[in-house]
């Protein structure tokens, strides 16, 4: 068995971001299939440390990281660095904050 490097974009059909209220941004990943979902969930590779590194944020700013079996999905909720539409905000709906997650790479056993 060998390791290979994969990106989230290789594994998922939907990767999206959106506000969850004005103070949080939530990221959803819908995996290609049930098998991929289970493999990623059970591999334990998606950790708060990896997400924090990907978004250059502190782990304590990760509000939620959970796998959701009914939709074969992963949900990650982050604290917004500025609340929706407050001075300095760049994305009022939070709909374009998903790309680092899409490009996030990690090791996976074959």
């Amino acid at each position: 068995m060998g390791n290979r490097t994969v990106t989230m974009a290789d594994l998922a059909t939907v990767i999206r971001s959106k506000n969850a209220g004005p103070f949080l941004i939530t990221l959803d990943v819908f995996f290609n299939d049930e098998g991929t979902f289970q493999k990623i969930r059970d591999a334990g590779v998606i950790t708060p440390a990896l997400i924090a590194k990907t978004y250059q944020i502190a782990e304590m700013d990760i509000h939620e990281l959970t796998f959701f079996e009914p939709a074969a999905a992963l949900k990650i909720t982050l604290k917004r660095w500025v609340s929706s539409a407050a001075p300095g905000d760049t994305d009022v709906f939070g709909a374009q904050q998903h790309v680092p997650l899409m490009n996030m790479s990690f090791q996976l056993d074959d």
Binding site: G21, P22, F23, Q56, I57, E64, A73, K75, T77, F93
Partner: protein, 465 residues
């Protein structure tokens, strides 16, 4: 009504009143003989602007214009509900659900009724909360932050233009009991307007609210998804069904299950006024090719009834300037130019205290979308700059914006060849006054004793006389 109904049917025309829907989809939905039409008309998504609008201000006209845009949706829905003799429930009126917004939508409802010769009992449910009540609850320790929200103090309450709270199903149920056919409500929890009639008729609260959560976004939970199309819900004693009314769409297990995650911080629990829906035991089944059956959603009541408060405060007034940069040397020196501009502004406006103004830059082609979260460091060859000045008055903001754009336009960086100007402006005038800027300053839960008392109901007979 029958002694015990087997099912109730709910029609959701669109994700947000104003997003539109095909007339054929509404027609197909009405052929299914729904028991109620319910539609959500607001959200915090678009930011705090409409929540912050002061009564009697210039911006109130913008709210009036915004409310008028929903006429095209409202007219067919009112006609469909009245001609079928079923209720139409509109929640979170006017985007933000304050009294001003509620009055705006109610006025429009009455105008359409007059034009169309419609007759009905109208209920208007207010959702603005008296600041003194919030202060009293705060002193009693009954106001708690919802997530990473700034701490609330009495100052924040005083600074709020208005405070609204999301009502639960109870005020809608009371209005229905009073025989209201058209209900226009201020701020409300999204599922409540869909779940109220089923819960009033004894259907399971967990199922009704979970169905409401899926229905409130129209056909977004279908495949292909759309915020501008009709979704039809049927709640029965131990499950509910959802199905799009446009034959070009289907509900699949995946599209419906996926929707449980939409805009929610945690997919397992749906937090609602007075309790939560526990989705850990939920199951999704493909009922027909286009229809999904959902069961196992459980409601668990909280020991105390809590409502979500939302408020906005005025930050200042905004003026912006949009410019492009193409010269590679100017792009290379952009960070330095902006730093110098900030320093120059501080010097130029030294009579203003630092808390009276702020300056923000968005650099599109570099990190305009993600700001400090942007991982890429090399900018594009064609960069867009948005200069944003916020100050205590519109005039002050415009003075700062003008100073900054002129400063950057003529800034001499080392090795500059393009000495006639560093910025390409697409518009004249360059500086655009944007009006007031608000920020959400209260997003808290407040304990209340009675789910009805903060939400007074006013009844009016429309079309009699």
């Amino acid at each position: 009504m029958a002694a015990r109904m087997d099912e109730m049917r709910i029609l959701s025309p669109t994700a947000i009143l104003g997003y539109g829907f095909p007339a054929e989809s509404l027609g197909r939905g009405m052929d299914r003989r729904p028991d109620v039409i319910a539609v959500d008309a607001g959200s915090t998504d678009a930011g705090p602007y409409f929540l912050g609008i002061q009564p009697g201000s210039v911006e109130q006209n913008k709210l009036v214009d915004f409310i008028r845009t929903v006429t095209t949706d409202l007219r067919p829905l009112l006609k469909a509900a009245v001609s079928s003799g079923i209720p139409l429930i509109i929640g979170s009126a006017g985007g933000a659900g304050g009294n001003l917004h509620l009055t705006g939508i109610s006025t429009l409802v009455k105008l359409i009724a007059q034009q169309e010769g419609l007759k009905f009992r109208l209920a208007m449910i207010k959702a603005e909360i008296n600041p003194d009540l919030v202060k009293e609850k705060l002193r009693q320790g009954k106001v708690t932050p919802l997530g990473p929200v700034p701490a609330i103090a009495e100052g924040a309450i005083d600074r709020s233009v208005r405070i609204v709270a999301q009502m639960g199903v109870e005020p809608f149920m009371r209005a229905l009991e009073q025989g209201a056919q058209i209900i226009v409500a201020g701020r409300a929890s999204d599922p409540s307007m869909f779940a109220a009639l089923p819960i009033l008729n004894g259907f399971n609260k967990g199922l009704a609210l979970h169905m409401g959560k899926i229905l409130e976004c129209g056909a977004i939970a279908a495949d292909p998804g759309s915020g501008g199309d009709v979704l039809f819900g049927t709640v029965r004693r131990d499950h509910f069904l959802v199905e799009p009314m446009n034959p070009e769409r289907r509900c699949t297990i995946k599209s419906v299950a996926a929707h449980s995650l939409y805009e929610a911080a945690d997919p397992w629990y749906l937090h609602e006024p007075g309790g939560m829906v526990d989705l850990r035991g939920v199951s999704f089944m493909q009922e027909t090719d286009r229809c999904v059956r959902v069961s196992g959603s459980l409601f668990a009541a909280d020991p105390v009834y809590r409502i979500k408060l939302e408020a906005a405060e005025l930050v200042g007034f905004r003026t912006i300037c949009i410019a492009g940069i193409r010269d590679p040397a100017a792009i290379e020196h952009l960070t330095e130019m902006l730093k110098a501009a900030r320093k120059g502004t501080t010097r130029q406006f030294s009579e203003l205290s630092p808390d009276q103004w702020s300056l923000h830059f968005r650099i599109y082609g570099k990190n305009g979308v993600m700001g400090p979260l942007e991982p890429e460091s090399s900018p594009s060859h064609d960069v867009g700059l948005v200069i944003e000045a916020i100050a205590s008055t519109q005039e002050q903001a415009s003075s700062i914006c003008l100073f900054v754009h002129a400063f950057i336009l003529h800034y001499g960086f080392p090795g500059r060849r393009s000495t006639a100007g560093n910025l390409a402006f697409p518009f004249s005038p360059q500086d655009i006054p944007m009006g007031p800027v608000y920020r959400f300053n209260i997003y808290h839960l407040m304990e209340i004793d009675d789910p009805l008392s903060p939400f007074p109901i006013e009844i009016e007979e429309v079309g009699n006389g």
